[in-house]
């Protein structure tokens, strides 16, 4: 049985996994605390993790109906993320393993997002092509039979989630605006305005989202204020549609060029309703098998970390006691 801990950004998460059976997944979100700063303040996130981690762990164990004595392996996100946030999770995980005699597994957050697909009900078996899209990351990776990754393409500038959030901000929605944009766009006409997305050449699977964001900025600057106000839902729908179309088009094209019949989604943007719908339509039309984890497994959680740990080796002794965290860049 695996106890997993994830604290790479501002969600404090713990989960218990038995085989491929998810017994508990607890996510304590700090979004409310950070909203007033308009972003995540690393020091604030680190403080909250330390306050919450033991309770979140207790909750997960209680939900699962097991005590720590039955945990054979402890898994923890060690990279990438905010260093101060990661180290709360790593210190806690390795100490629990040290105290109970459990084994310890280090997981990358990105591996975790992809591994959300190994859990039922989707339970995808590699090889497959995976679109990883979040606030800090956008790439297409080919997951080999042995579950190793090969990067097919990636964003050259902004991440898809970042583009959606920045668009939401330009449209005057409160932080974090991506979900509000998704909701607003639902009642709008996606054909109302056209926002060109970069790298729109067939055969180029890389992404670029800085241009589309700039296009929205100029559109709103030059539009009559009354129009921008009245047609806000239409503008939101058009903008979101532009970003999502680029993701869908390149994913489907890459799958076809690699003759890959199975496509999976990972990362927080997989929770976007338009992406789920469009990708489903496009892949059905082309006979591609598509798996999307339930929304709760797409955004940050520890179940995905436990899932990744199933296929990763235990850290050797005594090196596992000196396990550190690697901040390499922004949270994904």
């Amino acid at each position: 049985m695996i106890l997993a801990i994830e604290t790479s950004c501002d969600d404090t998460c713990a989960a218990v996994l038995d085989g491929d059976r998810l017994l508990a997944s607890v996510v304590s979100s700090q979004t409310l605390f950070h909203a007033r700063y308009g972003g995540v303040v690393p020091e604030v996130a680190s403080r909250h993790h330390l306050e919450l981690i033991n309770t979140v762990m207790d909750e997960a164990l209680a939900d699962a109906g097991v005590d720590l004595g039955r945990i054979g392996r402890v898994a923890v996100t060690t990279r990438p993320g905010l260093i101060g946030a990661l180290l709360v999770g790593v210190a806690t995980a390795k100490t629990v393993a040290f105290a109970t005699g459990a084994r310890l597994v280090a997981v990358s957050h990105l591996e975790g997002h992809v591994a959300a697909n190994y859990l039922p009900p989707g339970a995808a078996e590699p090889p497959f092509l995976c679109l990883i899209a979040s606030g800090g990351h956008t790439s297409l990776v080919y997951v080999e039979k042995d579950r190793s990754f090969r990067t097919v393409s990636q964003t050259l500038d902004d991440a898809a989630g970042e583009a959606l959030d920045k668009g939401a901000r330009l449209l005057g929605l409160d932080y974090p605006g991506g979900a509000a944009l998704d909701a607003l766009a639902a009642s709008g006409d996606p054909g109302f305005a056209s926002f060109p997305v970069g790298l729109d050449r067939p055969g180029n699977f890389n992404f670029s989202f800085s241009g589309v964001k700039t296009a929205l900025y100029y559109y709103l600057r030059d539009a009559a204020p009354a129009l921008a106000r009245e047609r806000r839902a239409d503008i939101a729908a058009s903008y979101q549609s532009a970003v999502i179309s680029a993701l869908v088009k390149k994913t489907v094209a890459a799958a076809e060029s690699l003759s890959c019949g199975l496509v999976c989604l990972a990362g927080g943007v997989s929770a976007n309703s338009l992406l789920r719908r469009r990708l489903r339509q496009q892949s059905e039309a082309r006979g591609i098998d598509l798996r999307i984890p339930p929304p709760g497994l797409c955004t940050d959680n520890a179940a995905m970390i436990a899932s990744a740990a199933r296929f990763l080796p235990d850290l050797p002794y005594p090196e596992r006691l000196s396990l550190g965290a690697q901040a390499t860049g922004l949270p994904v």
């Binding site: 690393p42 309770t55 974090p176």
Partner: protein, 241 residues
């Protein structure tokens, strides 16, 4: 009663095993900024050289600073996880008080003030005045977070005689403390500048009980508010992590 105390408020990390009446063993090492990597291996070595298992621990004390935020979080997270995993009681203990208790032997009488001074970085120190009591020390001021020059002014105004000063904050700002009138810092090489976690250990007869609620109250004394200026804002997180 077998207790474990850990202090990670400064760059020198300190671990002690036993209780205040009977110290079994202790260790200290320069962790710099590598508390996360170095703490658990050091704890394992300390237990192993006494032939003890982590499961024999009966109580945990975490030094709660103030001090470097990351160091403190590693120490406190480790202590909380030990308490939770072993279901043994935990308490927090001020690192300034432990520093003062260690340096109290140089106080001449119960009137003299001792300034415990921990480096707060960014040109500041955390500090508190203490006075000698029959058995140990008691606080004689609030906890300050000040520039060293400001601290010297505050403590000398608050004191009638010379103030003894100890701690890594004194070493970090030698020029200010060793030249100041009214302040008598311990010599730079004096070991009592270090926070010794022995002074966090509970008495032999301490009888606490484990409770999940009590554990949650053990947190670092940050003193300083989080820095929320634009340079540390991380806007990329947003909705879609």
């Amino acid at each position: 009663m077998l207790a474990l105390a850990i202090d990670t408020a400064t760059e020198i990390c300190s671990i002690a095993l036993g209780n205040r009446e009977h110290l079994i063993d202790e260790t200290s090492f320069v962790a710099g900024r590598s508390h996360l990597e170095m703490l658990l291996p050091a704890l394992e070595r300390l237990l192993a050289r006494q032939g003890l298992s982590v499961r024999q621990l009966e109580q945990i004390v975490a030094g709660t600073g103030p001090g470097t935020f990351s160091g403190l979080r590693v120490g406190v997270a480790t202590c909380r996880a030990l308490s939770q995993a072993l279901a043994i009681p935990i308490a927090g203990s001020s690192s300034l008080a432990a520093l003062a208790a260690g340096a109290a032997s140089c106080l001449i009488d119960e009137q003299q003030n001792l300034a415990a001074v921990i480096n707060a970085r960014r040109g500041q120190v955390f500090a508190r005045l203490y006075r000698k009591s029959k058995r140990t020390v008691f606080p004689a001021s609030a906890v300050y977070c000040l520039k060293p020059e400001e601290l010297v002014e505050v403590v000398t105004v608050a004191s009638t005689g010379p103030v003894v000063a100890a701690g890594d904050g004194v070493i970090a700002y030698k020029k200010v403390f060793y030249g100041a009138a009214g302040v008598r810092p311990l010599p730079p090489e004096d070991e009592r500048h270090q926070v010794r976690s022995f002074y966090h250990l509970p008495g032999e007869k301490s009888r606490m009980k484990y409770s999940a609620e009590a554990l949650l109250k053990v947190l670092p004394a940050y003193i300083r508010e989080p820095d929320a200026d634009k340079t540390v804002l991380l806007r990329k997180k947003g909705t879609w992590q």
